[in-house]
C-alpha cells in the first residue's frame, strides 16, 4: 500500500512552519480524494474552511473579551478576571455557560419574529467577513477577485440587523440607538471606503491576496504604511473601523450613560451574546483588513506568515482597547461633523496624493506629499474649528 500522503496538486509544497495549515488541509483533501468522488472533495474543501472559520470566530471573540477585560483592568489599575483558570483563561468559557443558561426575555410588545432574527442575522455578515481575510500565505478562504469590495459590502449589511433589533424591541432607547447606529455607520462607511482606495490603486487589484503580495519587498517590510498616503490612509481607515464596530470613542449607539445599552437593551442571554460576538468578530476582521491593506498582511521576516498576521492584528486590537480605556465619548454632532467635514476631505486629498505618487516615487515625492498633507490638515483643522460651539458657563446661583 503506497498511499501518497500528498496529492499531486500540492506535491511541490515544502513542509515548513509557514505552510502548516495549508499542508494539513491539502493532506486531508488528498486522503479523501482516494475514495470519494471529486465533487465530494470540493464540498469537503469548502466544509473544512467553513468549519475552521466557524470555530475561529467564536474562539477569537471569547478571548478578545478576556483580553479587553484584562487590559482595561490594567489601564484602570486593577487586575481584571483572574479567578477562573490560570490568569483567568477559562473566564470566557464560564461566561459562555452563563449566557447559555440565562433566561431569554422577549418584551411583550416586541415584534417577535424580527426580534429573534436580528441577533442571528447579525452574526452572518460577521462570519462572512472572515472569508476574504488572508490569515497567512495561501490561507485565504475564498480568494475573490473583488475581495476588498466584498468586505466593504458585507460589512455594510451589519446595519440591517441592528435596525431590526432596535426596531423590534419597541423601546425608545433601542430605537434611538438604532438610529444613531445607522447614521454613524453610513457616515463612516464613506471615508472608510475612500481610505481603502489608495491601497487598491497602488496594488491595482481588489483581491486581498494580491494587495498583500504587492507589499512584498526587501526584508518583507515594503508596507504601505511606510508612505505618506499609507499612514494617512491607515489612520483614517483605523478610525473609521473603530466607528464601524461601535467601539469607544465612537460608541454612541450603545452609550451606557445615555441609552442604557443602545440597540440591544432588550436582549439577554444567548441573543445578547450573539450581538456581542458579532461586535468582537467585526473588530477582529476590521483590524485584520487594516493589517492586510496597510501593514503588509502576513508579510514579515523569520516568523510564519500567519503568526505575523495575527501579531499585527492583535496589536491593532490592543490599540482599540487602549482607545476605550483612554478617550471620552464623542458628542453626536461632533461625531457626524468629524466624518463629513474632516475625514472625507482628507481621504479625497489622500487619493489625489496617491495618484501623484504613482508618477514620481522618490525623495521629492515625499517632500511635497508631506507639504500637501500638512497644508490640507491645517486648512481642515482651521475650518473645523469654527464649528466648535462656544464653551458654556453655568454661573453658580446665590
Amino acid at each position: 500500500m503506497n498511499i501518497p500522503l500528498v496529492s499531486p496538486a500540492i506535491r511541490g509544497i515544502e513542509f515548513n512552519a509557514d505552510m502548516i495549515f495549508v499542508t494539513a488541509k491539502a493532506w486531508i483533501l488528498s486522503l479523501l480524494g482516494h475514495f470519494l468522488p471529486d465533487w465530494v472533495v470540493v464540498l469537503a474543501s469548502i466544509t473544512i474552511s467553513g468549519v475552521v472559520i466557524l470555530c475561529l470566530g467564536p474562539v477569537i471573540m471569547m478571548y478578545l473579551t478576556l483580553l479587553e477585560r484584562k487590559l482595561i483592568g490594567r489601564i484602570q489599575n486593577r487586575y481584571g478576571p483572574n479567578r477562573v483558570g490560570k490568569w483567568g483563561l477559562l473566564q470566557p468559557i464560564a461566561d459562555g455557560i452563563k449566557m447559555f443558561t440565562k433566561e431569554d426575555i422577549v418584551p411583550a410588545k416586541a415584534d417577535k419574529v424580527v426580534h429573534l432574527l436580528a441577533p442571528i442575522v447579525i452574526v452572518v455578515p460577521a462570519l462572512m467577513l472572515f472569508l476574504v481575510v488572508p490569515f497567512g500565505e495561501r490561507m485565504t478562504a475564498v480568494n475573490l477577485n473583488i475581495g476588498i469590495l466584498y468586505f466593504i459590502a458585507v460589512s455594510s449589511i451589519t446595519i440591517l440587523p441592528i435596525f431590526m433589533g432596535s426596531w423590534a424591541s419597541r423601546n425608545k432607547y433601542s430605537l434611538l440607538g438604532g438610529m444613531r447606529t445607522a447614521a454613524q455607520m453610513i457616515s463612516y462607511e464613506i471615508p472608510m471606503t475612500l481610505a481603502v482606495v489608495p491601497a487598491i490603486m497602488m496594488s491595482q487589484s481588489l483581491s486581498t491576496n494580491t494587495i498583500v503580495m504587492s507589499q512584498e519587498g526587501p526584508y518583507d517590510m515594503h508596507w504601505f504604511i511606510f508612505t505618506p498616503w499609507g499612514i494617512v490612509g491607515f489612520i483614517i481607515f483605523f478610525l473609521c473601523a473603530t466607528a464601524e464596530c461601535n467601539r469607544p470613542p465612537f460608541d454612541l449607539p450603545e452609550a451606557e450613560s445615555e441609552l442604557v445599552a443602545g440597540f440591544h437593551t432588550e436582549y439577554s442571554g444567548m441573543k445578547f451574546a450573539l450581538f456581542y460576538m458579532a461586535e468582537y468578530m467585526n473588530a477582529f476582521t476590521l483590524c485584520g483588513i487594516a493589517t492586510t491593506l496597510f501593514l503588509g498582511g502576513w508579510q514579515g521576516l523569520f516568523f510564519p506568515s500567519w503568526l505575523w498576521f495575527f501579531g499585527k492584528t492583535f496589536v491593532l486590537i490592543c490599540v482599540m482597547i487602549w482607545f476605550r480605556g483612554t478617550f471620552p465619548r464623542f458628542r453626536v454632532d461632533h461625531l457626524m461633523g468629524f466624518a463629513w467635514k474632516f475625514l472625507l476631505p482628507l481621504t479625497l486629498v489622500n487619493i489625489l496624493l496617491t495618484a501623484l505618487w504613482q508618477f514620481t516615487s522618490n525623495l521629492a515625492a515625499w517632500l511635497w506629499s508631506i507639504l500637501i498633507l500638512a497644508v490640507s490638515l491645517w486648512v481642515l483643522v482651521k475650518l473645523n474649528r469654527t464649528f466648535i460651539p462656544e464653551k458654556r458657563h453655568y454661573p453658580l446661583e446665590s
Partner: protein
Amino acid sequence: MPVLEIAAKFGTYAVMAMILIFALGVVTLRNLFHCALCLAAALIGTAALYVVLQAEYLAAIQILLYVGAVVTLIIFAIMLTEHLAEKTVRQNNSQSLLALLGLLGFVALLTGLILKTPWPVTQTALTAKVSVMGLGEALMGTYVFPFEVISIILIAALIGTVVIAKKDDPEEKP
C-alpha cells in the same frame, strides 16, 4: 461535474424563488418595516443572482448601495413616520383588483412574447469575462459622458434632498 452543476442550477432556481417570495412580501405585508426587510432580502438575493451571472462587481455594489444605503434610508423614513404604519391602517387602495387583472394580462402577454422570441445567445458572449478593470475603462472611456452626468445628478440630488428635508428654522429668518 454534473452533480455540482445540477446543484448550482437548483440553487439558482431556489434563489430566484426566494427573491420572488420576498418580493411578494414587499408588496403584501402590512407592516412597512417588514416590507423593508423583505426588500433587503430580495436585494441580497438579486446580488447572489448577479454572482451567478458572473457580475461579481455589480453584486458587491448592489449590496453596498442598496442594502447599505437605500434600505437604510427607507428604514429611516419608516421610523420617522412610523406610527402611521400600524396594522389598523388599510394598506391597499381600491384599485388592487383592477391592477391585479391588468398585471395578469401583462405577465401572460410578455411571457408568451419571451418564449416566442428567438434570443440571439452567442457563445462568445457567454465565454466573455468582465473584469473590474474593463468596467473601469469602459466607465472612463466610452461612457465617460453619462458618468459625468450621473455625478451632476448626484450632486443635484444631494443638495435638493438637503433643501427639501431641512426644517424651516424660524430662527434663521430675521
